[in-house]
């Protein structure tokens, strides 16, 4: 049994590292952090360099890790320009793929996933955006919140309620997934500025007012949108885990650099050495669980509990390692990238399912096993 990734993936990792070091310059990192602009030029370069290939998800995963190691904001922005593509890959019709997926995978279009609403984030079944059937299609009314790529995407994979829930227990029934284009009449995205971190990512609040959605833009079975989104989260969460591992590794790199530049007496202190050992161990474990979860997802044998463990644990590690790094570097962290990574890291405990929601998923899977064993 080998714990090594195949050579070709390690090659991609190496290339991704070199690419990020060359392209994500300090000036650009500061620029996007300051202005909160979307790094479209870098996105194009990432495409041209061939890092966006959902057919070979391992490449995307290691690119995510290496990009976030250098800058999570720019790195994630570029790679997440195809956000939600797996939805069409798994559930889309050939026409939908032709129109939306393939151009996105060629870098000609940008996609987004619109689930969260002002009143419902963790509680996906609690969303209130409505799809109403009319002749030949649907009318969409609703309000989405915190949507990544919201003002730059060409189209959204959007979840809305198309039928009332049959019962209190079955609130997740009656939700439908639709592809909605940003330029359609009635769609109004507004950029949200002032995020703590990940400021190179585009985030928007979007209202939908009497938007016409043709029948052919419904993805999968009507009323089964919840399952589609949950299947997607099972995939996307491993990428967030990789984002966390990359961020944590980036923090380790900075601590390493700090210690290399300081007199040896500082790193010879056992206190510093223990902190270093603990931080490196945490990141190594986070990476291993992320790859294990990814291996299952990428071989079409997902283990939702493991995926949630990876996402929750890696996020925890990114934040813990950021805190520990400050304890070593102290005031000298001021004005360095460490401050930025501390701000960027926090999002990993929130998006694609908060840490609390991941714990609920894990616990439910375990309880199910207890039930089955009885």
């Amino acid at each position: 049994m080998s714990f090594e990734l195949p050579n070709e993936i390690e090659e991609t990792r190496k290339r991704a590292r070199e690419f990020a070091l060359k392209e994500f310059t300090s000036e650009l990192i500061d620029h996007y952090d300051e202005t909160e602009e979307y790094p479209n030029e870098i996105r194009k370069k990432v495409f041209d360099a061939g890092f966006i290939t959902i057919e070979n998800p391992w490449n995307m995963l290691v690119a995510m890790e290496e990009f976030c190691r250098v800058d999570p904001g720019i790195g994630l922005s570029a790679l997440a320009s195809v956000f939600g593509s797996e939805i069409l890959l798994l559930y889309g019709t050939e026409e939908q793929k032709e129109k939306y997926l393939y151009p996105t995978l060629k870098g000609e279009k940008i996609s987004a996933v619109a689930v969260t609403e002002p009143g419902a984030g963790s509680d996906v079944a609690g969303i209130t955006s409505k799809l109403e059937k009319i002749e030949g299609g649907w009318i969409l009314n609703g309000h989405k919140m915190f949507i990544t790529n919201g003002t730059v995407a060409d189209h959204y994979y959007l979840l809305a309620r198309s039928a009332p829930p049959p019962s209190k227990e079955k609130r997740h029934h009656g939700l439908t997934l639709a592809i909605v284009e940003r330029k359609w009449k009635g769609v109004n995205p507004v950029k949200l500025k002032g995020k703590l971190g990940m400021r190179a990512t585009d985030t928007a609040e979007i209202t939908f007012e009497n938007v016409n959605v043709p029948n052919e833009n419904i993805v999968g079975e009507e009323g089964k949108g919840f399952y589609i989104i949950m299947t997607f989260f099972n995939i996307s969460r491993v990428y967030v885990a990789a984002q966390s591992v990359g961020t944590a590794q980036g923090i380790l790199d900075l601590v390493f650099e700090y210690l290399s530049n300081k007199p040896a007496s500082f790193r010879e202190m056992e206190y510093v050495q223990f902190a270093l050992a603990e931080m490196n161990t945490l990141v190594e474990v986070a990476r291993n669980i992320t790859y294990k979860a990814a291996a299952k997802v990428f071989s079409f044998n997902p283990d939702p509990a493991l995926t949630s463990m990876a996402k929750y644990y890696a996020a925890e590690v990114a934040n813990q390692v950021a805190n520990m790094a400050f304890k070593i570097v102290g005031m000298e962290a001021s004005g360095t990238k460490l401050e930025k990574l501390y701000r960027d890291a926090k999002i990993t405990e929130i998006w694609e399912g908060t840490s609390e929601i991941e714990k609920l998923v894990i616990a439910r899977m375990i309880l199910k096993k207890i039930q089955e064993a009885k």
Partner: protein, 348 residues
């Protein structure tokens, strides 16, 4: 426990904070503490709060001043730290070490601002030196580098001086926290006069001053913690998920009550801490609680917590920035270990 007099003073500051700070916090963070606000804080006597009344100070006892800082920090940690900087790090030191009454009075009245530039919380010494009467060097970690008066710690062959001066040039940058106060680099390159040297034992004096006033940093940390957790408790009573209020979920109410309890314990400890050792532990623990409480609060706010509009992410930045500014864990635990265990402790 707080005395009646202390309670009265704190309630007056609370009243002030409610009218002047509560709705202005975002503005303060964006545009920095204005001249007008500085004047109002000065009128309350906060910039020479702990100096004796006979010397034009407010004569507020140190415990009460800590409570004032905690109250201010609940509304604006920037304002609290600014007040601590003016009163404790600049005016108290000037009063202790010099006879610069005019400068003290002007800082007290808010006419001038002051800052202290030192390296005691850094892992390594900063490179500001004094050679003869030539002061030169740079510090990259200056709070309020555009202050009118700089107290600068400069080294010279084994000794350390405290010099009252102005920088030759400054460069500002956006700090992690306390964005209501400017932050950045100060460069010094000038000939000074003898009377500008106000101490030739700067390191010792500053070290002791920091140890003695560590409870004031704890107070600011506790103000941040309390504000963060109170806000999160409030939010947990408004926000619903899965058709229940957030506070109804066991892990949420558990973490909130736990944090609240720890903050209350620390607040009691704040009123009791007398010895240097007490104050040091109080500071380290309060800073840790502030980092934890702000992380919990941000998390409970979910996506909304990540945006500055709701004012929760600020606690997350401020608590870490305060830790960086006012503490060096390795140095402090070393002092404590040597005192508690043995002078030979924390060696290897």
């Amino acid at each position: 426990m707080a005395s009646e007099e202390q309670k009265l003073l704190v309630s007056m500051i609370e009243q002030f904070a409610k009218t002047e700070l509560e709705n202005a916090t975002q503005k303060i963070e964006k545009e920095r503490i204005s001249k007008d606000l500085r004047k109002k804080l000065a009128e309350l006597g906060l910039f020479s709060a702990t100096l004796p009344q006979s010397e034009g100070g407010s004569g507020i006892d140190k415990k009460s001043f800590s409570l004032i800082l905690m109250t201010l920090a609940k509304y604006s940690a920037s304002v609290a730290y600014f007040t601590y900087l003016q009163n404790t790090l600049v005016n108290e030191l000037l009063y202790k070490l010099s006879n610069k009454k005019e400068v003290i009075a002007k800082i007290g009245s808010g006419e001038l601002t002051g800052t202290l530039v030192h390296d005691l919380n850094l892992n390594f010494q900063h490179e500001i030196f004094i050679k003869g009467l030539e002061l030169y060097g740079t510090s990259n970690f200056v709070t309020l580098p555009d202050a009118d008066v700089h107290l600068v710690m400069a080294r010279s062959e084994g000794s350390s001086y405290l010099v009252i001066t102005k920088p030759t040039s400054t460069a500002l940058r956006k700090p992690l926290g306390f964005r209501g106060i400017s932050f950045g680099t100060s460069i010094y390159k000038e000939k000074i006069e003898n009377e500008q040297i106000i101490s030739k034992e700067a390191e010792n004096i500053l070290q002791n001053h920091f140890l003695e006033t560590g409870d004031q940093i704890a107070a600011i940390a506790l103000g941040i913690s309390e504000a963060a957790i109170e806000k999160a408790i409030e939010y947990s009573k408004e926000r619903k998920a899965f058709e229940s209020y957030l506070y109804e979920f066991q892990p949420i109410s558990a973490v909130l009550s736990d944090m609240k309890g720890r903050i209350e314990d620390m607040k009691k400890a704040l009123t009791l801490a007398e010895s240097i050792q007490d104050k040091m532990f109080l500071k380290l623990n309060s800073l840790e609680i502030a980092r934890l409480a702000s992380r919990v609060a941000l998390q409970i706010y979910g996506g909304y917590g990540y945006l500055e509009d709701l004012g929760v992410e600020r606690y997350y930045r401020d608590s870490m920035h305060l830790t960086m500014l006012a503490s060096n864990y390795i140095k402090e635990i070393k002092i404590l270990s040597k005192e508690i265990i043995s002078p030979e402790a924390f060696k290897i």
